[in-house]
């Protein structure tokens, strides 16, 4: 409207957007489930604070990611409207917010829960902001495979808040998200290819071609299934979780098979229908597994 409107007069929502609220919702949910199903009770307020500060730590790493990736975000259509490329928030502000919230969330998680969980959160922020964003994302097509670990840590942190340590159950919750991430993002890359091309991010679709990506998606659905089932055989699992896991993994493998069997010509002809529905299924897949853990916990109690 006016010339000086663009000069970084941000509203509150722009700072909230820096924390990637949609990613945060996944962090909140998985950390909450990890915390609730862990043995040993926590005071509800302490549990609430723990999940809140894990979420803020995740948001802080999102702000650091947006600070570093502003150049990529400005090129990709999906991310062009983010606060920094849109000019509403300066890069330095995002960096400051990210660093301040990182320190605050780690300190408060240590005070609210325990210092093992706080150290774990600090490592997760480091892993996402430095290992994934600064190092792997631009250098290797395996970027999301290894970077996916950052998204897989929250349930382990939640578990660590309640128990002060790591166990087989928390490692299997990690594996569930870790092996789920690649097929999830590669399906997205299959129907958003132009964006990654333009930004020069080495997605598997760009470096090794789309047919290789289809085969990788199917392969990961096969790797993922045993870990999902194994989690059901641990003390946090049970008939409810196992029923959900068996049904969803069979469906996931079947849909992954369909994605692999398609050619690009078929995919373009129907507007990437199978790829989009696989992507949607992957969202339900992860949500349903963690929801089933929660239900299983309440049923057993």
């Amino acid at each position: 409207m006016t010339t000086y409107q663009a000069q970084g007069e941000a509203e509150f929502g722009d700072y909230v957007a820096l924390l990637k609220p949609r990613v945060m919702s996944l962090v909140v949910f998985t950390a909450f489930v990890g915390l609730v199903v862990a043995p040993g009770g926590m005071h509800p307020l302490v549990a609430f604070c723990a999940v809140l500060f894990i979420a803020i730590g995740g948001g802080a790493s999102g702000a650091l990611n947006m600070w570093y990736d502003a150049d990529i975000d400005a090129v990709m259509r999906r991310t062009r409207a983010r606060p920094i490329p849109a000019g509403r928030v300066s890069g330095a502000e995002a960096l400051g917010l990210g660093l301040a919230l990182s320190g605050l969330s780690v300190m408060m998680l240590g005070l609210a829960a325990n210092w093992f969980a706080a150290g774990f959160l600090a490592f997760t922020i480091f892993f996402y902001a430095v290992v994934y964003t600064m190092w792997l994302k631009r250098s290797t097509p395996q970027n999301i495979v290894i970077g996916g670990a950052a998204g897989a840590f929250p349930p382990m942190i939640g578990w660590a808040c309640a128990t002060g340590g790591i166990s087989l159950e928390s490692l299997l919750m990690f594996a569930l998200i870790f092996f789920w991430t690649p097929p999830h993002f590669w399906a997205l890359a299959l129907f958003m290819k132009e964006d990654y091309h333009e930004a020069g991010v080495p997605m598997l679709t760009v470096t090794h071609g789309r047919d290789v990506t289809r085969r990788h998606i199917f392969a990961y659905t096969l790797v993922l299934a045993p870990f999902a089932i194994w989690l059901g055989l641990t003390p946090v699992g049970g008939p409810v979780y196992l029923g959900v896991a068996v049904a969803l993994n069979a469906l996931f493998i079947w849909r992954g098979w369909q994605v692999m069997r398609r050619s690009d010509a078929q995919s373009n002809a129907d507007g990437h229908r199978a790829e989009k529905s696989f992507f949607k299924l992957s969202l339900y897949y992860l949500f349903a597994h963690f929801a089933a853990l929660l239900v299983q916990h309440w049923v057993a109690a």
Binding site: E9, E11, L52
Partner: protein
């Protein structure tokens, strides 16, 4: 009158200020509530430490020191142990 006209920019600034106000009040309330919970669920030590005095009952035990009942206990005069024959003077 032009000076009083509120620009859209002021609305953004207000949203920022109010947002920060809510966040700060919320944070202070949260820390207070957390303190209350921590003090009331922290076991005896948290409550007994109120007077800033050294309390032997709160000190950690020394490594390798066995604490056992004395072979030759001292009993206060008039107590059942003194009547049963324990020495009354240290």
């Amino acid at each position: 009158m032009a000076l009083r006209t509120e620009h859209e920019l002021h609305a953004r600034r207000r949203s920022r200020n109010l947002g920060l106000l809510v966040v700060l009040i919320g944070f202070a309330a949260l820390v207070f509530a957390l303190s209350v919970v921590k003090v009331s669920t922290g076991g005896g030590a948290a409550l007994e430490g109120y007077d800033h005095q050294v309390r032997p009952s709160l000190l950690p035990r020394d490594e390798g020191v066995e604490i056992a009942p004395s072979d030759d206990p001292v009993a206060a005069p008039g107590t059942p142990a003194a009547d049963a024959g324990a020495r009354a003077e240290p």
